[in-house]
Amino acid sequence: MVTLRQPDGSYTWKRRTTGQSLALWFGWLLGVAAFVWCWRYISEATTWFFVWDAPRIAGDILERATPPRWSYMDQLWGPIWDTFNIATLGTIAALFMAVPVAFLAARNTTPRMPFFAGAARVFPKVIRDILFVETGDGNFTLSIVRPIALLVIVATRSINSLIWALLLIAIIGPGVFAGIVAISIRSIGFCAKLLYEAIEEISPVQVEAIQATGAGRLQTIIYGIVPQIMPAFAGIAVFRWDINIRESTVLGLVGAGGIGLQLSGSLNTLAWPQVSLILLVILVAVVIGEWVSAKVRGAII
């Protein structure tokens, strides 16, 4: 924000200097150019004839899909139960694996050893932030397991549960079990990341108080850290369960059990009335999941 002096000696307020305006304009120009470049590729890869025909096709599908085949519901209860189990058991398994990872990834709980400050400063900041933990007095401690825990977190959360399911089906065969394992692996990174951030934010005062009583390492964790992160933990668990309900509804598309299996079967046979019923069921499941999770989180926080 600047004030500009006018020829007649008065001042006017302007939001940006000329240089800032130019930089902003140039930034937008670059952005638009990048967008146009990318769009050209997508446009080339598209058969526009189909796109112009799309409203008719959409109307056609809608007409075929209504009304939903309500009698098909009898065959859906089993898959719904499976879907619920994939989400719930997957979340529980994920939490068991995420807790140790989170404790190893949090700067204040990961095992560390003292390190020469001068040598630590040689590393660029990106690497230093991962390898070392800076203590309050400007010294550095080296942690060997923290980078591994961070790698587990980033690897499990960058890969979608559908891809995990594809992989697990190749390894342990199609079915509900592959879905549970896929959901649990995918959830480790998410839960561990949120949990380790919660651990890093705890108050050190309580931990020191427990340590002052002569508590051991495990006792310090149980009495000093766990009570502080328990609300965050419960919130994360319910939050992830809600997301997993959504994800487990589509795992069946690749053969990992649940209602997605029926969806994929109905799509392949072009049974649109069944597809619309399944989509309705999924919608209801997602809304219920979100409602439960909001209620529980409201009760905790």
Partner: protein, 278 residues
């Protein structure tokens, strides 16, 4: 109930030696605590017994699991380099275009879904759009759009744009609803028009968060673009699926490693951008 326990008359022995401290329970009400515990155990037994696991098949699969881990150690970027490059470029193009369009559309919808700015009819319409977008899984939207628009990255682009709108508008609307009223009133008091009011008082307040969330969404869009190919909506997913089908684990591992590296890079970049704007 717990009050009674706390204020119960201590016995003679307690007075002599003092009562020892007990860790308070996470859930205070005993009936709720025991109900949840027993209900949870019953559910676990029922659920686990309903999961059929073919342990023979799992055992046989362990070899393939080992093969995959081995492939991860020595990924093959070269064998299908052409396919990988093509799929990756498509994924990146889809991410860029859908993020740009999604963010642009989600700003007006976010403004419309904030109760302190929008009139009730606009509010309801915008909230309805957000709910629909959030309730539908990306992959399901992609299936429907592929059926309507045909195979190719256009269906993926539309899917990701639609999903971006639901995600970003909701968080933007929440941010606008919790903004500082004083600045808004000050700008209004200068006689600013509605448009000026939005540009000079509302948007500057939510801009840091909007930029941060947009960066996060770009990251999500890239990750999602990796699976849309499974249903024919373009991107690296198709290449990945083919690699799995051919049991070419080394190529699959190479693709997964590229995805992880790009996601890490995006996360690092968004960290820098967020630190800058805040």
């Amino acid at each position: 109930m717990s009050d009674e326990a706390l204020h119960a008359e201590p016995s003679e022995l307690d007075l002599l030696i003092g009562t020892s401290w007990k860790k308070p329970h996470f859930i205070q009400r005993p009936w709720l605590r025991w109900g949840l515990l027993i209900g949870g155990l019953v559910y676990l037994v029922l659920a686990i017994s309903s999961v059929e696991v073919n342990w023979m098949r799992v055992y046989e699969g362990l070899d393939r699991g080992a093969a995959f881990i081995k492939a991860f150690m020595e990924p093959n970027f070269v064998k299908r380099a052409g396919d990988i490059e093509e799929g990756m470029i498509e994924s990146i193009y889809m991410t860029v275009t859908s993020s740009a369009v999604g963010i642009l559309i989600s700003i007006p919808i976010g403004l419309g879904a904030a109760r302190n700015i929008a009139p009730l009819p606009v509010y309801l319409v915008c909230r309805a759009i957000i709910s629909i977008s959030r309730a539908l899984q990306e992959i399901i939207v992609a299936i429907l759009l592929v059926a309507i628009f045909g195979f190719g990255p256009l269906a993926g682009f539309l899917t990701l744009s639609f999903a971006t709108i639901g995600f970003l508008s909701k968080l933007l609307a929440e941010d606008i609803e919790s903004m500082d009223r004083v600045q808004a009133e000050a700008v209004k008091a200068t006689g600013a028009s509605w448009w000026q009011w939005i540009v000079y008082s509302v948007l500057p307040q939510v801009k840091p968060r909007l930029i941060g969330l947009s960066m996060y969404r770009i990251d999500i869009n890239f990750r999602e673009s990796a699976i849309l190919g499974l249903v024919g909506a373009g991107g690296i997913g198709a290449t990945l699926n083919t690699a799995f089908d051919r049991y070419e684990y080394d190529t699959a591992a190479a693709i997964l490693i590229i995805i992880i590296v790009i996601v890490m890079g995006l996360e690092y970049l968004s960290g820098i951008v967020r630190a800058k704007v805040q």
